[in-house]
Symmetry: C2
Subunit: 206 residues, 2 copies
DNA sequence: CGAAACTAGTTGCACTGAGACTAGGTGCAG
DNA sequence: CTGCACCTAGTCTCAGTGCAACTAGTTTCG
């Protein structure tokens, strides 16, 4: 029994795509891009893809179908998913969908240190973020408009709906905070914070 | 000129806490937990904390204030933030707040492979997720109720508001999809998908 | 015909997450 | 009063990730 392969978004996607047909690594990357999934799986640098494939291969979840050479191109190894790979893909997928994993994104961590700035400075940087989010949102909306015309079944684009919903939610939240900063519902001063900091006595320090 | 230190949520938090007072690594961990920031910065395993501190130290952002020994405890090194550390912390914070970084969480990646399941199976796993999210949400709400009574300034707890808003948004989205699955607004079958998959001809494969 | 850009795969490095391990200290129960 | 569990404090290792550079052929276009 070899050590079980750890699940990863890219690993799952590779297994899923190999369900449709055996393929070589670069072809997988192309396919991911064609299906518009680069937004969501991170295949930007190929290194991760090759390493993931190696790992899946070592774990027996995929197997070499053939190695072909098309003279002008370097040798390409075509992989196919194994029976075990199918079973594992399903388990991974169910796990990933059913239980939310806590992932420590940077924004909330940064937010927790926002008292380091003055309210005016915080307002400024959050306005920049709101603009970035708005740009991202309109991008997503444009993409959705295009996809709507493609006649693809809705389920194949469901992840875009999710990403959109989350961006919208974040933008709304940021704008709400901005408005609280503007009208003074949310404010602070270094002295006020210092006073409260003293209540929190740290464990034996000096 | 030594290589610039890469920013990280934990690095920022360490610098921020050392603004209040010089402290040793374990004390920092305790402080993070006391302030309820373990939700958001990931200091669960100390290894990361020690490595981060080493890195900040090597980069000149923090300096050794003293090494004390409290006989019964092992030696503890107390660090303080340097002038450069203060400047860098501010830059990091502004960057992290102002520009959203795309981070590839697993859920959207998993969603993009949801057609591997049947609609009925998808419904089942998403219901599990909705329950997990609801539990997480009520936890956050309980915590907020407690915090509200503590008299702490709102800004010091702002990250909890954000996390709550995002959990709520995700739960709403998941429940909306569940209801679409239930009433048939969202459905699919293997044959339908196979038909569409053929339209997407992959780059030279065989 | 030469520069730039694309195809395809490889390599290295720094960082992260998770866990095990050491090693002394403290509290409690049998 | 001894052994067990748990706490404090720090270290180590391993697998996995993100990012960037590098090789080496290929096509495109001025």
């Amino acid at each position: 029994m070899t050590a079980p392969v750890k699940s990863s978004p890219l690993g799952l996607t590779v297994l899923a795509l190999l369900h449709y047909r055996p393929l070589h690594p670069y072809g997988l990357q192309q396919l991911i891009k064609q299906w518009g999934k680069e937004q969501v799986v991170n295949v930007g640098q190929r290194a991760g893809l090759y390493r993931t494939i190696e790992r899946l291969h070592a774990g027996g979840l995929i197997a070499v179908r053939q190695t072909e050479r098309d003279q002008q191109y370097p040798e390409r190894t075509v992989y196919e998913v194994t029976a075990e790979g199918r079973a594992v893909a399903r388990q991974w997928l169910e796990q990933m969908l059913a239980v939310p994993k806590s992932e420590f994104p940077v924004f909330p961590a940064a937010l927790s240190n926002v008292p380091m700035l003055t309210p005016a400075e915080a307002l400024e940087v959050l306005e920049k973020r709101a603009e970035h989010l708005a740009a991202q949102r309109t991008d997503l909306e444009a993409r959705q408009a295009v996809d709507a015309g493609s006649g693809l079944p809705r389920v194949t684009l469901i992840e875009n709906e999710y990403v959109h919903a989350m961006v919208v939610a974040e933008e709304r939240w940021v704008r709400a905070v901005i408005s609280d900063l503007r009208n003074g519902d949310l404010t602070w001063s270094p002295e006020l914070l210092a006073a409260f900091a003293e209540h929190y006595e740290a464990p034996s320090a000096d």
